[in-house]
Amino acid sequence: MAGLLHPVLGLDHVVAMVAVGLWGAFLGQPAIWLLPVVFPLVMTVGGALGILGVPWPAVETGIAVSAIVLGLMVAFAVRPPLWLAALIVGFFAVFHGYAHGAELPSSAGPLAFSLGFVVSTGLLHLSGVALGLLTRWQGGRRLVQIGGGVVTLIGVGYLVGLL
């Protein structure tokens, strides 16, 4: 349960993960499913660094910046090549993975914890994808872009210490 709750207890985590799904929906096939598949796997790199105690600079800042960047991508409906989108998402996945991985050694059941936070993260992506389906309609598209703007603002709030 602690693993399931870990990603949803930080608003910056939540909005960044939802933004991954939203962006995937904007990018269309195959990004809509590729990003949620790639993210957990790349997240393990960050998780491994956290578990091994390898110093990683500015983890919380990286998470806040991930919300800003991913939110901006959604807000402006940016459509880079798939490899670049995967690279951006993968880069930020390392920060999110590090934050979760650092908690793993102190958990009572590491496997249950890791399964919990991976599933929770994945479900946040799927929530983003589901919301992103609104882009099929013109009005919904605007709504999703506004959502991206909100994600960016929350990221800025965390970065400057207002949240």
């Binding site: 598949v37 998780g47 059941g109």
Partner: protein
């Protein structure tokens, strides 16, 4: 496995109750529950089921047979020679197998049947060897191991059948791959933890509820 002991265990449930980790449940049913309470085993079983279902069951029946034979071999070995593997000794190998199988689910590419059969047999062998409960002995142990074998086989069939049935739906095909990436990621993280310098102290061997030996 000595079949006389197995039959004896099955016809004498009263005697088997004496060694039940869950009091009153019986050794056979405790054996059935064992894989459900060992997350690493569950991940291997689900990942294997998904990969076989993805590849198509009809063309991969030898893989299913390889898995079943591996489970039987592992259970027989550990039943006859309980000291051959210490509890928790296979944790890393089981997690590694879960990672390997789950990573095969992610790209959803056609795989050589031989490779999959070998992997399935290896997975079955490891799971069988990891199924020993510390408490039961004699006929009770045989009953518990038999229960674990039944559970390991049936638990693999569910995700396999589901994965194959859902191959007709694009969202389900994607869902299967997402599930594969979740299993790979979570198993890989714990594998790193187990292999890290502080790993052996923090990764419990076959996590199980209180009073239920791994």
């Amino acid at each position: 496995m000595n079949s006389r002991w197995l039959w004896l265990a099955l016809i004498l449930p009263g005697a088997a109750l004496a060694h039940s980790p869950f009091k009153g449940l019986g050794d056979f049913y405790n054996g059935i529950l064992h894989p459900l309470f060992v997350p690493a085993q569950l991940l291997v079983v689900v990942a294997l089921g998904l990969v076989i279902g993805q590849q198509g069951v009809q063309r991969h029946l030898p893989v299913v047979a390889g898995y079943a034979l591996g489970v039987v071999a592992g259970l027989t070995l550990i039943g006859q020679y309980p000291q051959v593997v210490a509890p928790g000794q296979l944790e890393v190998a089981i997690l590694g197998t879960a990672v390997a199988l789950a990573l095969l689910v992610v790209p959803a590419r056609a795989l050589p049947r031989v490779l999959l059969t070998v992997l399935a047999a290896l997975a079955g062998l490891l799971l069988g060897l990891d199924s020993l409960q510390s408490d039961p002995a004699g006929s009770a142990r045989t009953a518990a191991l038999f229960g674990s074998g039944v559970a390991l086989y049936l638990l693999m069939l569910y995700p396999m059948t589901l994965a194959e049935y859902l191959q007709g739906y694009i969202w389900a095909r994607i869902g299967t791959r997402v599930l594969g990436s979740w299993i790979a990621a979570s198993a890989l993280l714990v594998l790193v933890l187990a292999l890290s310098p502080s790993g052996p102290d923090v990764v419990p061997a076959s996590p199980a509820p209180e009073g239920y030996p791994g």
